[in-house]
């Protein structure tokens, strides 16, 4: 376990440097004049003029050599200072704290909700493999997965907000606002994870060790508890960990549809308006989260699977 953590820490440091550097290089390779882009982001389309761009260029030292700007960023990063947004002027840490906080809440709710949906469905389909319930599960999963998440969200709004009037359409200042965006994401995630659970269940219940435990006289429940849960959970935990990482980076459409603040929206705006500190800070945070979540998944798998203790 200690080995895993040290390895991940080194990975984290390398990742922070490389993600920041690549973002810095890529953002400077994008077409268009940075000063004009930043002026458009700051003052709006109607107010972007040569004079505003010139003021931005002067204020931010955009005429400085690129290597000097890079060294400046690296120096600040070593002091754990991500700088301020070129558009809003607010500290990047404050912006990230605000946006990432909402994304994490949404992602956590979505993954929990998807587990609530996918676990029973996947287990039932696994135990009833190739029967009508399994085929129905496959059909529903394929349908949900083939829907763009935006379309799924609209269907849920029409049903739960406009018809049943159970939940608000959009917003973010109370708990009911969380339900529809979380359910939209959860359905899309559960469509896939329920099939992973189904396959994992099927693999385990058809294994020799599972059959042997039944032959030696254990009941169905005992067999499932002692030999099923952990073996089924291993690939499922790893898969849902990957889903969670994907969620944090890719919820922009859902955030946009439900007017939910989040890092996806912040990232896209940072790209459009060449807000490089925001871009670097967001990419860096997503990278850190990727390593942290992977470490947590590794930790869970380590605890679930006693065999990994021997390999470590």
């Amino acid at each position: 376990m200690k080995g895993i953590l040290i390895k991940r820490l080194v990975q984290l440091l390398m990742m922070a440097w490389s993600v920041g550097t690549i973002t810095f290089i890529l953002s400077r390779m994008l077409p268009g004049d940075m000063a004009y882009r930043i002026a458009a982001g700051r003052y709006g389309d109607d107010a972007v003029t040569a004079a505003a761009a010139s003021a931005v260029r002067q204020e931010l030292g955009l005429n400085d050599p690129v290597w000097l700007q890079y060294l400046h960023w690296l120096g600040e990063l070593l002091q754990c200072n991500l700088g301020s947004s070129l558009v809003s002027g607010n500290p990047i840490t404050a912006e990230l704290q605000h946006q990432l906080g909402y994304t994490l809440i949404l992602a956590a709710a979505a993954i929990l909700l998807s587990a609530v949906i996918a676990l029973p469905l996947g287990l039932i389909c696994g135990f009833q493999a190739n029967k009508w319930i399994d085929r129905c599960g496959l059909l529903i999963s394929t349908f949900l997965r083939s829907q763009p998440v935006f379309c799924l969200g609209l269907i849920l709004i029409l049903l739960f907000s406009l018809q049943l009037k159970w939940f608000p359409v959009a917003g973010f200042d109370s708990l009911p606002h969380l339900f529809l965006p979380a359910l939209t994401l959860a359905l899309s995630l559960a469509a896939l994870s329920s099939r992973v659970i189904r396959n994992s269940t099927l693999r385990v219940i058809r294994s020799d060790y599972y059959l042997f435990s039944r032959i030696k006289g254990l009941s169905r429940q005992q067999t499932f508890r002692r030999h099923g849960i952990r073996n089924i959970a291993l690939p499922v935990v790893a898969f849902m960990g990957i889903q969670l990482v994907g969620l944090i980076e890719g919820v922009i459409m859902v955030e946009s549809l439900f007017a939910w603040p989040g890092i996806g929206h912040g990232l896209s705006h940072a790209v459009f308006s060449r807000d490089i500190p925001m871009l670097q800070g967001t990419a860096l945070t997503c990278g850190v989260l990727f390593v942290v979540i992977n470490t947590l998944v590794d930790g869970c798998c380590y605890l679930l699977d006693p065999r990994s203790k021997m390999t470590c």
Binding site: A55, P168, D173
Partner: protein, 509 residues
């Protein structure tokens, strides 16, 4: 696991019950629009604080574009319009309880003028306090429409306590009928009624503004009672909401025009006949009805009907005429080749058009123009860019044509716009480009000194001249679409988009 699932389901049920039991609050109005309040700085997001009636300007404007007293009750200038005096409204209290006086106004304006503004701030040589209730502006040169500049949100007056030692806005302390209570950039602004407002008190105690990024979401928000007023709707959403019994749709013409900017120095566009042909080839009616779902929005001049005397009602209605367009091009020496494409001296008529994504209708209109000009044998390459590509292309000379939505409400006097964008051959970032018309320039300078009937006559001549000389080709006028919940009474739309006018609204149970 079973316990966890049970707890989760219980939590969900509680959510449902809580969600179901939340009707719209009787004392709180919720507004949604696409505008993102990114900062407290007025230069960056002042338009949203002005619309929420937190901040006010010295001069106001009515629906017809006429200047009205704001924080200044009256103003006058010297004969040569280089010195202007504004007399401040007495007994105005800022939201922190401090009194508004000339020193506070001078400080606020000095800081505002150190930041980017939508006018040439070099014009203002000095701002001084003459006495406790009089502020004087000394200008570098004569400027008759000066008072109109002070209607812009960047010139709104903040209390001295708003700024820190480096003049950064740290608290937004204005003087409007609403005061800021919560700022959650870029997604939410909450305000509450200001009890000590000098004018008529607002009826609604609390107002929330929520950024709704997508027009579809905003339409659903007002339909599902998650918002009371939503702004900037798309044509599809308007059609949806027009069938709803709970919502009414408001359509108001605003001083914004979709225009094609042309680089007149480009050999392809320097001839008036060619520009007239390009204009005649446009099926404006088709664009207005088919794309914007706004019949009657076709533009035959730059300034629309909402711009008072600047709109010339007698100009002929715009009509597509391909035959006449073809004849004009032929007169200019352009002939079709065997492929039906126009060419002159072996060179094809190929143009490039820049437009931007923030106004999604522009790219659709640009592709419609592409198809319409193709009928003349002109190839048009459309480039989707950021809005900043237009001023950038203007200044580095790389721009050939651009499709843009020009806002004339920023400074409500079009004379200011013309002086900035049409008074020299260089033109302006969002105006003419390399258009040299000494007769127009002379008439424009003459208009800056005219008054009364002479002014009105000159204004009409200027607008007519622009419509005939076509330094830019007008396409459509904008109609702003908003939707309002039935419980909101007293709604009206400010065509100059300076205020949501929430202080005049009431909520009915």
């Amino acid at each position: 696991m079973a316990k966890l699932i049970k707890r989760f389901i219980t939590l969900l049920l509680l959510c449902v019950i809580y969600g179901c039991s939340q009707p719209p609050q009787a004392d709180r109005l919720t507004i949604s629009g696409p505008f993102e309040p990114i900062s407290l700085d007025l230069a960056r997001a002042g338009y949203i604080f002005s619309r929420l009636q937190i901040v006010e300007t010295l001069v106001d404007i009515n629906n017809d574009g006429q200047l009205q007293p704001g924080l200044a009750t009256s103003w006058e200038s010297h004969q040569d319009a280089t010195v202007w005096r504004f007399h401040l409204r007495p007994n105005v209290t800022f939201h922190d309880g401090s009194m508004m006086d000339a020193n506070a106004v001078v400080k606020s304006l000095r800081i505002a003028l150190s930041k980017p503004t939508p006018f040439d701030k070099q014009l203002i040589a000095a701002v001084t306090a003459i006495d406790a209730h009089t502020v004087e502006f000394r200008l570098q040169s004569s400027y008759r429409p000066f008072a109109a500049i002070l209607t812009n949100y960047t010139m709104a007056i903040l209390a001295p306590a708003s700024f820190d030692h480096s003049d950064k806005v740290v608290n937004l302390v204005g003087s409007g009928p609403y005061q800021l209570t919560e700022f959650d950039p870029p997604h939410m602004v909450s305000v509450s009624r200001f009890a000590d407002y000098y004018g008529a008190k607002a009826h609604i105690p609390y107002v929330d503004y929520i950024t709704g990024h997508r027009p579809e979401s905003r339409a659903l928000m007002v339909q599902g009672s998650s918002a009371d007023i939503v702004y900037n709707l798309d044509p599809a959403s308007v059609q949806l909401l027009q069938n709803s019994a709970e919502v009414r749709v408001n359509s108001t013409a605003i001083p914004r025009t979709i225009i094609i900017k042309l680089n007149i120095a480009d050999p392809l566009l320097s001839s008036l006949e060619v520009r007239q042909a390009l204009s005649l080839a446009l099926d404006r009616q088709g664009i207005a009805e088919g794309i914007m779902h706004q019949p009657g929005a076709e533009a035959n001049q730059i300034f629309g009907p909402s711009m008072g005397i600047w709109h010339v009602a007698s100009l002929p209605a715009p009509a597509a005429d391909l035959k006449q367009a073809q004849a004009l091009l032929a007169a200019a020496g352009w002939q079709r080749d065997s492929n039906g494409m126009l060419q002159k001296q072996g060179k094809r008529f190929t143009l490039n058009m820049v437009t931007y994504a923030n106004r999604p209708e522009l790219i659709v209109i640009a592709t419609a123009i592409q198809a319409q000009w193709a009928k003349l044998g002109i190839t048009l390459d459309v480039q989707m860019e950021n809005a900043s590509a237009i001023p950038l292309g203007h200044n580095d000379g790389s721009l050939q044509t651009a499709l843009m939505a020009r806002n004339f409400a920023n400074i409500p006097d079009p004379l200011t716009v013309l002086l900035a964008d049409f008074s020299t051959p260089q033109g302006g970032d969002w105006g003419a480009m390399n258009w040299n018309d000494p007769a127009f320039f002379h008439l424009l300078q003459q208009t800056t000194h005219a008054t009364g009937a002479d002014y009105e006559r000159d204004v009409q001549q200027l607008s007519t001249h622009l419509a005939e000389a076509l330094p830019m080709i007008p396409v459509l006028y904008y109609v702003q679409q908003s939707a309002v919940a039935k419980r909101v009474k007293g709604f009206s739309f400010d065509p100059y988009e300076r205020s949501f006018r929430i202080a005049n609204m009431e909520l009915q149970p």
